[in-house]
């Protein structure tokens, strides 16, 4: 009994002691602005969450090393939420109540959506890597921002690109494969409708689980329908399974994946089967010839990073631009940053993503998507496809 109590006390002390230095540190800096960052550093989405979080971290360090943002030092308060809604919510509450952050960088859909109302009430601009179209509609999510075209716009832009490339007389055949989960289902209705408008023939519709280790059944069914193009709406591991099984079964189709559906890891997972596929991305890949890449290569000392890193970096860059604009007008707080962000017009984040604009009634950052072709074990830039900013597509 006594040893048990002692152990408990020791454990409690061990847990509490390390928090002391952080309390001291935060009091030392003056003229600082705090930004919260709730990231998926562990849990199911950590393979993409970690590079994204590193991008944000490096951008903050780079901004601070170059004079800060409008004379302010940015302090990043990072918490791992493990893609768990309760932990993400607790992190957000801590940012607001204890750290007094002016803005938050978030990551996963489930958490971002659970915090939409809180961010609006607390007037905290909430950047995220969840590109669901409905988060770009200020009518329902007034304080939510992201820097990539939403999932539906990405899919529409890719369809437009493939239709423009299509030379044969018959209508191109199109199949959709996606996981039966919110993330996979979100753009499907928009994609199907736009495909019909463009003159695609939608021939197939298969669900492939995010954790799939075999997709032969779905591909055999696709084989009969012989689609020219096949959308993969999953994540990199399930996309790799699809591509490998397609090669095994002998399905000849051009795969195109959404933003989380393939990254640099696809070549490790799928090998030569990935060859010829397209990856939809919103940010440059490492080493691409854009002005911002020099900065990133300098910050990372030439160590290659995934495209998610570049997106995290840009997300922070855009937020910094908002803070700069807000500071030029006077007070820097959540509301002024939001209003400043809504005056951004074709802001170019050093070429790392397509130019970004936000409007008070439209938070879609851009209507453009980068298409990369998987060639020789690399993502090779193929095209930038832009769509008109159609009001009817907002939030859908």
């Amino acid at each position: 009994m006594k040893t048990w109590t002692k152990m408990l006390c020791a454990a409690a002390l061990a847990l509490l002691l390390p928090t002391l230095p952080t309390l001291v540190d935060t009091a030392a800096l003056a003229a600082e602005l705090k930004v919260g960052s709730t990231m998926d550093l562990s849990g199911p989405t950590s393979s993409v969450g970690q590079p994204y979080a590193k991008g944000i971290r490096d951008c903050v360090a780079w901004l601070n090393a170059n004079g800060g943002v409008a004379g302010n030092t940015i302090t990043l308060v990072e918490v791992d939420d493990a893609y768990n809604v309760q932990q993400g919510m607790a992190a957000y509450k801590r940012f607001v109540a204890q750290e007094k952050v002016v803005a938050v960088q978030g990551f996963g859909t489930a958490i971002v959506e659970a915090l939409v109302k809180f961010a609006a009430k607390d007037q905290i601009p909430f950047f995220s890597a969840s590109y669901s179209a409905h988060l770009a509609d200020p009518a329902s999510a007034p304080y939510n921002f992201f820097i990539a075209a939403d999932y539906s716009t990405q899919l529409r832009a890719a369809l437009k690109y493939f239709k423009d490339q299509w030379k044969e007389a018959r209508a191109p055949k199109l199949a959709f494969t996606y996981p039966d989960a919110p993330y996979g289902l979100v753009p499907i209705a928009a994609g199907k409708q736009f495909a019909k408008e463009l003159g695609f023939e939608v021939v197939g519709d298969e669900t492939v689980d995010l954790k799939a280790i075999d997709a032969t059944t779905q591909l055999l069914s696709l084989q009969k329908k012989a689609p020219d193009y096949t959308w993969i709406g999953g994540t990199t591991p399930s996309a790799a399974v699809m591509m490998k099984d397609a090669q095994k079964v002998g399905v000849k189709t051009t795969f195109f994946t959404n933003i989380w559906g393939s990254d640099e890891n696809i070549f490790k997972l799928a090998g030569p089967a990935a060859e010829g596929g397209y990856s939809l991305q919103a940010a440059a890949v490492y080493g691409q010839d854009v002005p911002g890449m020099k900065v990133i290569q300098e910050v990372t000392k030439g160590e290659p990073q995934m495209t998610h890193y570049v997106r995290g970096f840009t997300s922070m860059l855009v937020l910094a631009e908002g803070i700069k604009k807000a500071a030029a007008k006077g007070k820097v707080d959540g509301q002024s940053i939001k209003e400043a962000l809504e005056t951004l017009r074709d802001f170019d984040p050093m070429g790392l993503t397509p130019a970004i604009s936000y409007f008070p009634d439209d938070h879609r950052p851009s209507m453009a998507v980068f298409l990369y072709k998987m060639t020789g074990g690399k993502l090779v830039f193929a095209a930038k496809q832009e769509l008109p900013r159609d009001k009817a597509w907002l939030g859908k």
């Binding site: 009994m1 061990a14 847990l15 509490l16 002691l17 390390p18 928090t19 002391l20 230095p21 952080t22 540190d25 550093l41 562990s42 849990g43 970690q50 990072e78 918490v79 791992d80 493990a82 768990n84 809604v85 309760q86 932990q87 919510m89 607790a90 992190a91 509450k93 801590r94 607001v96 109540a97 204890q98 859909t109 489930a110 959506e113 659970a114 915090l115 939409v116 109302k117 809180f118 009430k121 669901s132 409905h134 329902s140 039966d180 989960a181 919110p182 993330y183 289902l185 979100v186």
Partner: protein, 348 residues
């Protein structure tokens, strides 16, 4: 059961009382007063954690009644929470007052729970676990695909609850609402266990054949356990939905069911206070680990990535150690601590 020294009863009714001694009543009163005073001294971060804990307490108390008291394992509790959340959200969105929405959420979950509890007459133990797992999967599918009702993958947004024009739109305000419901639920569950149906639940758990011989209707007993348990899950879901003001299918996955099971196992199966302790423990552990890894990352900045990986491991390890060294849960440890101090310093 041993009574306390100097505590005598002159009637069975008094002996069966929830709080037999004045000391217990005073302690409980002080504890509740302290809880009520919490928002005055704590900031919104801590209050928000209290809110999440209290919602977990309601759900765990419900599952404890079914699994701990009646012995029917359920892996579908998370989905029942979801049914309550969606039903109450729909009720609120169509203009019902909050109190009615709360009841609607609870009743919808209770009805769903009873339907999926039907196989419990034929299935026991691990087989029932699989049947309730099926309930979880079916309900998750409905949340995602019954788009007209649930908003599908886009989820449902709603407003802060209002009672008689008073809006519970801050953490502090809704804390009192959740606290009131949680106290009512905990007292309710403690009382159910003392009643005839409650004793029937225990009889069913301990030996179903003897229970039936003693005149307990097995089917009615099990089904009502499922109903009451799911009702409380629905109430928890309603409060969660109105607290976060946004629900989507991902919030009510199998992990929620498992974490409720973890709460009642860690806390102590069949004990009301155990369910409370388990809910507190499981909700607080990730926060404490986050705090510790955050602090350690401040001391050793290069290690932050491995610390996060370690955190998950520590969470798992803590659960395993608890199961090995505290197989009867936190409630049992609590009883031992009380016994120790009762005899202090003459422990024997």
């Amino acid at each position: 059961m041993r009574g306390k020294c100097g505590l005598f009863f002159s009637s069975y009714r008094a002996e069966a009382g929830l709080f037999p001694s004045a000391f217990q009543k005073t302690c409980l009163g002080l504890f509740l007063a302290a809880l009520c005073a919490c928002p005055l001294v704590l900031d919104t971060y801590h209050v928000s954690i209290l809110n999440v804990i209290l919602i977990a307490v309601i759900g765990a108390a419900g599952l404890n009644l079914l699994t701990g008291v009646c012995g029917q394992i359920s892996l579908g509790h998370g989905a029942f929470v979801g049914v309550g959340a969606y039903a109450s959200a729909l009720a609120t969105l169509s203009g019902w007052p909050f109190v009615l929405s709360l009841l609607a959420g609870g009743l919808a979950a209770a009805a769903t729970g009873m339907v999926f509890g039907l196989p419990s007459l034929r299935l026991k133990g691990i087989y029932l676990a699989i049947a309730t797992l099926a309930a979880q999967l079916i309900l998750e599918y409905l949340f995602l695909h019954a788009t007209a009702l649930t908003g599908g993958s886009n989820g449902l947004a709603l407003d802060a609850p209002q009672i008689l024009g008073f809006s519970f739109n801050t953490d502090t305000r809704i804390f009192y609402l959740i606290l009131a419901v949680a106290v009512a639920v905990v007292l309710g569950v403690a009382n159910i266990i003392r009643t005839r149906p409650g004793r029937a639940f225990v009889a069913i758990r301990d030996h179903h054949l003897s229970a039936e011989i003693a005149g307990v209707n097995l089917f009615a007993g099990k089904l009502s356990a499922f109903g009451v348990s799911a009702f409380l899950a629905g109430v928890a879901g309603c409060l969660w939905a109105h607290y976060t003001m946004f629900i989507n299918p991902e919030q009510f996955g199998i992990t929620l069911s498992i974490s409720y099971l973890a709460m009642i196992v860690i806390g102590g199966l069949g004990s009301v206070i155990g369910a409370i302790m388990g809910a507190v423990f499981i909700t607080l552990l990730p926060e404490l680990l986050n705090l510790a890894s955050g602090g350690l990352a401040g001391l050793f900045p290069d290690m932050s990535a491995s610390l996060n990986a370690l955190r998950e491991g520590v969470f798992g390890l803590t659960l395993i150690l608890f199961l090995i060294f505290e197989p009867e849960g936190l409630a049992h440890r609590w009883r031992l601590i009380k016994a120790y101090w009762k005899l202090y310093p003459f422990a024997h």
